[in-house]
Symmetry: C2
Subunit: 214 residues, 2 copies
């Protein structure tokens, strides 16, 4: 498999974590978003949306969108599982992942921040207030889904990492990068720390990527 990645892409980081949790080997190629490499004809042939990541399987199948990629890995490389064994549990894990992938991240990704500053003339301070507002609102929802829920364990759902945990870590990485106050989200923070302590996750963080500029 080959993963087209960008060190700072939250969605690419999710897929790196999922691949790592499953112990899968893969090559990497790098798509520099600020240099607009995602708009090249070669890359658009693989990923017509021009987004990162893309995962190309050994048979040439090009997969896009982090949620779809991780579900594909779960179907084609089921061990160890990243979804629980029961339908209600799988729905909860997918809902937690969506709470990040559909509620928090899209409003704060690079192209939205660029639109705010370049097209709408928003200054850096207002941009950062925007960022922290959506992180705060989104993590308030996520914390309320996790705290006190009987299925929450060492990780988001039970004592083994799932797809939800693979999505949580990059979101917290970004929140910390933008100086968001995470004290109100003790369950989210605890699970993030449990995840970062896993040996499997070594080397997956943005700062550890070959294309990192951090």
């Amino acid at each position: 498999m080959k993963l087209y990645s960008y060190f700072r892409s939250s969605a690419a980081y999710r897929v790196r974590i999922a691949l790592a949790l499953k112990g899968l080997d893969y090559e990497m190629d790098f798509v520099h978003l600020r240099r607009k490499e995602h708009r090249s004809d070669d890359y658009l042939a693989l990923n017509p949306q021009g987004l990162v990541p893309t995962l190309v399987d050994d048979d040439g199948t090009a997969l896009t969108q982090s949620l779809a990629i991780v579900e594909y890995l779960e179907e084609t490389r089921p061990e160890p599982p990243l979804l629980p064994g029961d339908a209600a549990g799988r729905a909860r894990v997918r809902a937690l992942a969506s709470a990040i992938a559909c509620e928090i991240h899209p409003v704060n990704n690079l192209r939205v921040l660029l639109y705010l500053t370049r097209e709408m003339g928003v200054d850096d301070e207002a941009k950062n207030v925007w960022y922290r507002h959506w992180v705060d609102e989104g993590l308030t929802g996520l914390e309320s889904m996790l705290a006190g829920h009987p299925a929450t364990g060492r990780f988001c759902h039970g004592d083994r990492p799932t797809l939800a945990d693979a999505f949580l870590v990059p979101q917290i990485f970004n929140a910390e990068r933008f100086g968001c106050d995470l004290d109100k989200f003790p369950t989210v923070r605890r699970i993030n720390e449990e995840m970062l302590a896993l040996p499997a996750l070594a080397g997956t963080a943005p700062g550890d990527q070959p294309d990192s500029e951090a």
Copy 2:
């Protein structure tokens, strides 16, 4: 089953379509977002994020987040299927749904538009420019994933409706409501029309809901 819905919620509309395509009976209850009924204690006990929709299954399981709900329906009520039979096909359908649910809709939902106008002092015209910008960018990506792809058929993937089509229809409904120009997206428009012509979809549109104010 009981669906907690709001006539104008795009995510609730997706779930209404999925339930209709599967021919499932369900009760409805209504959560008025502008009256902040989604912030009531009773509703938050079902859906800690305070979002619409929530689907409560016959055994009391409360399901949140439209992608997770539709995957749950697919697992528990598999016929007719809303995902294709092969892993690569399922990944494509999920990626198309994510292209809507994670790329287009979140940036344009009600709370983001309210934040722009109330917190950032953006006027109506700039808000509508914002809306159309993200619809245009998102549908450009979606059209490029569909147009000319060998798996695109009468619907997004083949000749039977899938989860992707259930997500496409509400997005196009919203785009039309905001006066977006859809002429550049002939494949998206054609599939939307195929969907709207399905007898199963009768009664699912926002204007047909008992809580509609349109």
